[in-house]
């Protein structure tokens, strides 16, 4: 389980931007900055070796022609070249060691809900919009592509998931070629999940909200709200100085930075002013209370999912052992490697509610026992 934790830490550095290499054949290659950096790299600028993703070509095209080109785009991607040419891949079975892929959702906001005991709590709404698997790299290849030897050996492969289909006119050729294998339109956002080989997914598979079930626990990772360069009072909650009584220019400053004697230096990791927010954060062990299949919305515990409204959130199965126990003991495995509509014969209901969650269309909660 320690491996899980370190893996999640590593994910911070390996953002999806790394995937966009100029060479389309290197889709699965993970580029890592080898430069030795003291502390964390706090910059908003993409590294110089990223190939440009977005292009803005001002085409001198009449509106009618532009409409026609749009039509061609839709036609082209309507029936994508079947990724099933080599047949559907074999589906693995779930084991306690299995790590499935996640989805890339969008945060919609926070809404209160009530349990059947009448307790009020906040839930965060996450919408899974138009997700597709873009690429799968088996563990052997993936461990080699890193440029360094991963400590987990060849345990995990990688799945690239994309969200929000766009017209190809927004992007450069090298970016659009990433999607040739999956046969889907180019996506606005890509992300990568590490998966065990038994949870391998074929490129081109759509992912939707049914990937999870009500009552499952998930982890959410996203970028927090950016505040820019901030002082210690706002960034670390320090007290600052007094407002008056002879205080000069020290109202919002930090106090002492370090001691004397043997410790006569500013220690590493001292909390100081700097860039605040806009930083990857993972919130673990959030319960799924409710699923709306019509709008593809997950209701997840709490208001601590990082980021503002409409930010991207990576949602995947939790790595907390005590939250996975239920799956292991009760033999209640999640759909592997993801949910396929063929699995269910009856039509999917519009809503799934947790057993403990209050349904608004049911009667009010009453403690009066009728005798």
């Amino acid at each position: 389980m320690a491996a899980f934790c370190i893996r999640s830490m590593l994910l911070r550095n390996l953002t999806c931007q790394n995937l966009i290499s100029a060479d389309p054949t290197l889709t699965a290659r993970v580029l890592v900055c080898h430069q030795q950096v003291r502390g964390r790299r706090r910059t908003c600028k993409p590294p110089s070796w990223f190939s440009k993703r977005r292009v803005s070509v001002k085409q001198d095209i009449t509106p009618e022609n532009a409409k026609f080109i749009k039509e061609v785009v839709i036609e082209t991607y309507k029936k994508p070249e079947s990724p099933l040419k080599d047949g559907p891949w074999a589906r693995g079975s779930w084991t306690p060691r299995t790590q499935r892929t996640g989805v890339l959702a969008i945060k919609l906001g926070i809404v209160p809900q009530w349990t059947k005991d009448g307790k009020k709590f906040k839930t965060t709404l996450l919408q899974v919009l138009d997700n597709h698997v873009i690429n799968y790299t088996p563990p052997e290849e993936f461990s080699k592509s890193m440029g360094w030897k991963p400590f987990w050996g060849s345990k995990y492969g990688s799945v690239v998931v994309g969200a929000l289909s766009c017209e190809p006119h927004l992007f450069s050729k090298s970016y659009n070629n990433l999607f040739a294998k999956a046969g889907v339109p180019p996506k606005r956002k890509l992300t990568r999940f590490l998966v065990t080989p038994d949870a391998a997914i074929q490129p081109g598979t759509p992912l939707n909200v049914m990937h999870f079930r009500v009552g499952d626990y998930v982890d959410c990772s996203a970028k927090t709200i950016g505040h820019g360069f901030q002082g210690v009072v706002k960034r670390w909650g320090m007290k600052g100085g007094p407002a008056s009584h002879g205080c000069t220019k020290a109202h919002r400053r930090m106090g002492s930075m370090g001691g004397g004697g043997a410790k006569a230096s500013v220690w590493k990791g001292k909390r100081m002013p700097g860039h605040m927010g806009m930083d990857w954060r993972i919130v673990k062990g959030l319960k799924i209370w409710r699923i709306d299949t019509k709008y593809n919305v997950l209701y997840v515990t709490g208001y601590s999912v990082p980021g503002p409204t409409h930010c991207y959130v990576r949602v995947y199965d939790t790595i907390l052992r005590h939250r996975r126990e239920d799956l292991e003991e009760n033999g209640n495995p999640p759909p592997m490697p993801t949910f396929y509509p063929e699995d269910i014969e009856e039509p999917i209901p519009e809503e799934y509610l947790d057993e403990e969650l209050f349904n608004f269309s049911s009667e009010s909660i009453s403690y009066v026992t009728e005798k």
């Binding site: 001198d60 009449t62 022609n65 026609f68 080109i69 039509e71 839709i74 309507k78």
Partner: protein, 185 residues
Amino acid sequence: MNMFRFPVRNTPRKLKKSFGVGSGPAERIKKLQMLVTALIRNERLEAKESYCLETRGYAEQLIQIAIRNGDRHAETMEKADYWLLEKDLVHKLFKVLVPRYQNYTTAFTDYHFLPKKVPGSGVQMGILELKGNPWPPVVPRQRNQKYLLTNVLISTAKEEYRMEKKISPDLKNGTHDKLNQLDNT
């Protein structure tokens, strides 16, 4: 969600003090009053970018409430009286601008960037104008791009594409429906 017809910032800009007015929220409104008045009179303004874009919001809102409520509405009249420092313009607002913008579905104003005289220095200037003004147009006329090489190529390709699609019409229907829906939204 956003019912504004033009790009709007979440927070208002702070306008630097200039001649006649100082800084601070009260003086900012004073400056904006002057600018809105000037815009309604001249129908075209040349000012700093931030001034233009701030003025734009207020002028649009003023015209919008005038269209919605008419000149019999006390609150609207009060607003018009407050924002138009020269009172002959109150009549212009209700008699000229309201009929002009009655059926508009887009913004009532246009903003254009002016080039900087010296690159890399100076403030970005811009032009704010009311649509449908009598002055000569700032942007040169829109050219007919139909006969450009690329457009000729695409439009002939379109005919050919349509001809091919006629042979298999089942494919064609789906896209058209989709496109129509797209337009409706």
